[in-house]
């Protein structure tokens, strides 16, 4: 077990600066998720930790060792790849034993560890099969098992679930969580799927264009995104954004935009004081909108026209037109709404997000 420290890490390929000054500390036993759109530098960062990519500048520390110059084999890590990377010419058993054989473990110890890992993953009956005889889910388990037997200091996961179908993905997600709870090995997990990030991570790193946007516990990121990108990236359906002008009307702060006219309560108005007279981006999560029968008491509601109704069973997603813009509202399944209905949507001022239009940072 070990912590991983990444200090001022940079990676450039010729002209492309793929990773820019990343600083991270992954604590011992922590499950850290790196999430972001493709090309954001998350996989490159992971591969530098693994030693598969050279470091342009900066340091990577695993445990107490600076590993910058160490080949992957000496870093005491295990990695699970997106395409599983099972050795096609070896049986499941040999796949799992390979790393131990390379490290010259004694035969009985190899056997003990392989069987232990197979037991954890429920693949004891597959040990003699070849990878091509396995289903996608089984291959995934073998790939995990190959990492587990090693008892490494750190697990690295490179989008390990993205080749599975939706149902299996959910199942394996739960299983991964359980395995991590049981083994407690430090883990770095790269994904582009924000649900995986939210459910698996002890903490989550959101990256974009090679830059860390925010680091924190999943709910903190969700509730208090540091900038517009993080706000929009986490959450499904995604946060609604609208450009509004902040004005001071008799000491109260108002947000005025396309079809929106919101009188903000004093404590929020206080926070936005420095931006009075400017345009800002207003962010509202779909689940923070509710259908109001009449005019809302606090004056925080607006009119909307329903364009699409998506009934998901547990909730209803309403695509609505507000002024000339559109928004999505996630509402109770009991709400009766039809296309072209005129509704009033109310919101909770505590749950509103404001972002500077230029820097996109949260206000």
């Amino acid at each position: 077990m070990a912590r991983v420290v990444i200090r001022n890490l940079n990676k450039s390929y010729n002209e492309v600066h793929a990773v820019k000054g990343v600083n991270l500390e992954i604590r011992d036993r922590e499950f850290m998720v790196l999430v972001g759109p493709s090309g954001c530098g998350k996989t490159t960062t992971l591969r530098m930790v693994a030693g598969l990519e050279s470091i342009t500048s900066g340091d990577i520390v695993i445990g107490e060792t600076v590993v910058n110059e160490l080949p992957p084999m000496d870093r005491d890590i295990a990695m699970v790849f997106q395409n599983y990377a099972l050795y096609p010419h070896m049986s499941v058993y040999d796949n799992m034993a390979f790393g131990l054989k390379m490290r010259k473990f004694a035969r009985p110890e190899i056997d003990r560890r392989v069987r232990e890992a197979a037991d954890i993953l429920g693949i004891e009956n597959l040990l003699n099969r070849k990878p091509r005889q396995l289903s996608g889910g089984q291959r995934q388990r073998v790939a995990l098992g190959r990492a587990i037997v090693r008892h490494p200091q750190v697990f690295l996961f490179d989008e390990p679930l993205s080749n599975l179908d939706a149902k299996l993905r959910v199942q394996m997600r739960v299983e991964l969580k359980k395995i991590h709870d049981r083994l407690g090995t430090t883990a770095i997990y790269v994904t582009h799927d924000q649900i995986e990030a939210m459910t698996l991570g002890d903490r989550v790193v959101v990256m974009k264009d090679g830059v860390v946007q925010q680091v924190g516990e999943p709910l903190d990121l969700y509730n208090e995104p540091a900038n517009r990108f993080v706000a929009g990236f986490l959450g499904s359906p995604a946060m609604n954004f609208a450009t509004v002008a902040l004005t001071d009307v008799a000491g109260a702060t108002h947000a005025l935009g396309e079809g929106l006219q919101l009188a903000l309560p004093p404590q929020i108005g206080e926070r936005l004081r420095s931006h009075i007279g400017q345009q800002v981006t207003l962010g509202i999560r779909p689940e923070d909108l509710r259908v109001e029968s009449g005019e809302a008491a606090n004056g925080l509601s607006f009119g909307a026209v329903v364009e699409v109704v998506e009934r998901l069973g547990s909730e209803i997603l309403l695509d609505v037109k507000v002024g000339s813009g559109t928004m999505v509202a996630a509402v109770e399944p009991t709400v009766q709404a039809k296309v072209r209905d005129h509704l009033r949507l109310a919101l909770n001022p505590e749950r509103l997000h404001f972002f500077d239009c230029r820097s996109e940072a949260a206000i």
Partner: protein, 283 residues
């Protein structure tokens, strides 16, 4: 299948294919018939009324026995086999390493070296045989199997490298990366993960290289002089043809027997051979 009437199928398919097959295979049949036909039938004037050239009524093994007992044919076979196997192994070894380096590693001049090897792939043996004969003599390799064992790789290595590069490129990089994380050095990852997966490619390259070295002629003709060092192709050419006299029965028996090892290996690995052939012309 071709749609339409039966006669169309015959005209457009069976008859042309049949002619192709007869044309391509008749010389081998002819080899076989000639090698078991007694001399008195072989040299009977062809206008003779009872002349029946396509088969023989008195098959004989005399040509084959003469070939095996009165010439150095067995020795030539052994020479050829030894030279073909050793030069194939050397070429596979070099081709595996070079193919791996060129397809998987990043290093300066990689592109230049790759192009260089591709160009040597296109150099025909007939371009260099005269200076090469000089060099072989200077190295004191003349008239030894090593003259061929060391020169055959010049056309086999580029071929093996080229073919194996294609196989290596098809293996996902992650396998190797995973092995390296699992504790293997680059060398061991290559040896235990990449090479075993490339076995079909190695077989293809090996079989193809073997047939190429068995088939080689001009180097063997120029570099070897004593009768007992010769390969089959050269031995048959220089020892079974005395002056202007062709011993056709023995010659055909030699051609037949000299083809058997190649045909034998080929018959077991047709698919690999075809993969090698088609892979060798892939860009």
């Amino acid at each position: 299948m071709i749609e339409g009437a039966k006669w169309r199928r015959w005209v457009y398919f069976y008859i042309p294919l049949g002619i192709f097959i007869v044309w391509l295979l008749f010389p081998f049949y002819w080899m076989l018939v000639t090698s078991v036909r007694p001399d008195r039938e072989l040299y009977r004037p062809w206008m003779a009324p009872n002349y029946a050239p396509f088969w023989t009524t008195h098959p004989t093994l005399v040509h084959i026995i003469d070939l095996l007992t009165q010439t150095l044919f067995i020795r030539w076979m052994a020479n050829t086999l030894f030279i073909a196997i050793v030069s194939t192994l050397i070429s596979l070894f070099c081709g595996l390493l070079a193919g791996y380096a060129l397809s998987r590693l990043k290093f300066p001049f990689a592109g230049m070296l790759g192009t260089g090897i591709f160009i040597t792939y296109l150099v025909p043996q007939t371009l260099l045989f005269i200076p090469l004969a000089n060099i072989i003599r200077n190295f004191n390799l003349g008239d030894t199997p090593w003259a061929l064992i060391l020169t055959y790789p010049t056309f086999l290595i580029p071929f093996c490298t080229w073919l194996l590069m294609g196989y290596f490129k098809a293996i996902p990089r992650e396998l190797e990366e995973c092995a390296r994380i699992d504790g293997a050095t680059r060398w061991k990852a290559m040896l235990y993960v990449i090479f075993p997966i490339a076995v079909p490619g190695i077989l293809s390259a090996g079989i193809f290289a073997f047939t190429l070295s068995w088939n080689e002629f001009i180097y063997a003709l120029v570099f070897l002089s004593s009768a007992h060092e010769k390969t089959v192709s050269v031995g048959v050419t220089s020892e079974l043809v005395r002056g202007d006299v062709f011993y056709w029965g023995q010659l055909m028996a030699g051609a037949l027997l000299g083809s058997i090892p190649v045909a034998f290996i080929y018959s077991f690995f047709v698919e690999y051979y075809v993969a090698g052939l088609t892979g060798s012309v892939k860009g």
